[in-house]
């Protein structure tokens, strides 16, 4: 049963990822990415990361993809988006990477002698509560740095996208 669920999620994620790259129309790419994000959230739930699944849907599907669609509609791009001229070079570069991966995983004996069998987490504990405790004790300083990153990104985005930033002054 668990393998069936994983197979479904993994299959949809892989197919949607390929569609994101393969589809010509960027709007379809964004919608395919939306499908992929929902299935990644499902995968998180099977991995007992319920908080991250909710955050994945709210932040990625709710905020980031809407921003993508908004800019896409704003720019009103023509659909003659073909692949880059360097695609032969891309294939040549990616083939060794893919072969390396295959060689790496050919040596893996799936499942039989996996030292890291899925350990049952104490399911009585709340995942959100546990993450909150970890985030605000061990990772408190990185959390503050993340807030600084968001502030810098916000100011940077406003400055970059504002029209006539130099002419308004004086």
């Amino acid at each position: 049963m668990a393998q069936l669920v994983f197979g479904y999620f993994a299959g949809v994620i892989a197919v949607a990822a390929v569609l994101v790259v393969a589809l010509r129309n960027p709007v379809y790419s964004v919608l395919s990415l939306l499908v992929m994000f929902f299935h990644v959230a499902g995968l998180y739930i099977t991995l007992h990361a319920e908080f991250l699944a909710a955050v994945q849907i709210i932040v990625y599907a709710g905020a980031i993809l809407v921003l993508y669609l908004f800019v896409l509609m704003l720019l009103n791009s023509k659909q003659d988006d073909r692949y880059h001229r360097q695609w032969q070079m891309a294939v040549i570069l990616c083939c060794p990477l893919f072969l390396e991966l295959m060689v790496l995983f050919a040596g893996v004996d799936p499942g039989a002698t996996d030292p890291l069998a899925a350990a049952p987490m104490n399911s009585g504990e709340d995942n959100t509560r546990a993450i909150g405790l970890t985030l605000f004790s061990t990772y408190l300083f990185p959390f503050e740095v993340a807030s600084l990153i968001l502030l810098v990104a916000m100011i940077g985005a406003i400055m970059l996208a504002k029209r006539d930033i130099g002419r308004q002054g004086a």
């Binding site: 668990a2 393998q3 994620i13 892989a14 990822a17 390929v18 994101v20 790259v21 960027p26 964004v30 990415l33 992929m36 990644v40 998180y44 991995l47 990361a49 908080f51 991250l52 932040v59 990625y60 905020a63 980031i64 921003l67 993508y68 800019v71 896409l72 704003l74 720019l75 791009s77 988006d81 880059h84 360097q86 695609w87 070079m89 891309a90 990616c94 990477l97 893919f98 991966l101 995983f105 799936p110 996996d114 890291l116 899925a118 987490m121 993450i131 970890t134 985030l135 061990t138 990772y139 993340a146 990153i149 968001l150 990104a153 916000m154 940077g156 985005a157 406003i158 970059l160 996208a161």
Partner: protein, 101 residues
Amino acid sequence: MTIPLSYYVILSAVVFLTGVVGVLIRRNIIAILLSVELMLNATNINFVAFSRYLEDLGGQVFVFFALTVAAAEVAVGLAIIIALHRSKESINIEDFKLLKW
């Protein structure tokens, strides 16, 4: 019954490679940013899977930070795209070759 960890790593590698190929072959700048999102999600899957199998919540906290950085990247990236489109009326990557020799 349970799924071995290597399956998650393989899935993540497939998604990451798809993202790399997308960055290399697409010409639309927005499609390139979408491929970057694919790569970020591949690493997130890895983080969560390892966090589950090692019983350490640190992995999930790092996904949280990766999400923060992804949001910042999207905001700045799309602002740059808008500025580029304003100066050149195009979001095709081959129209921007000022720094190319």
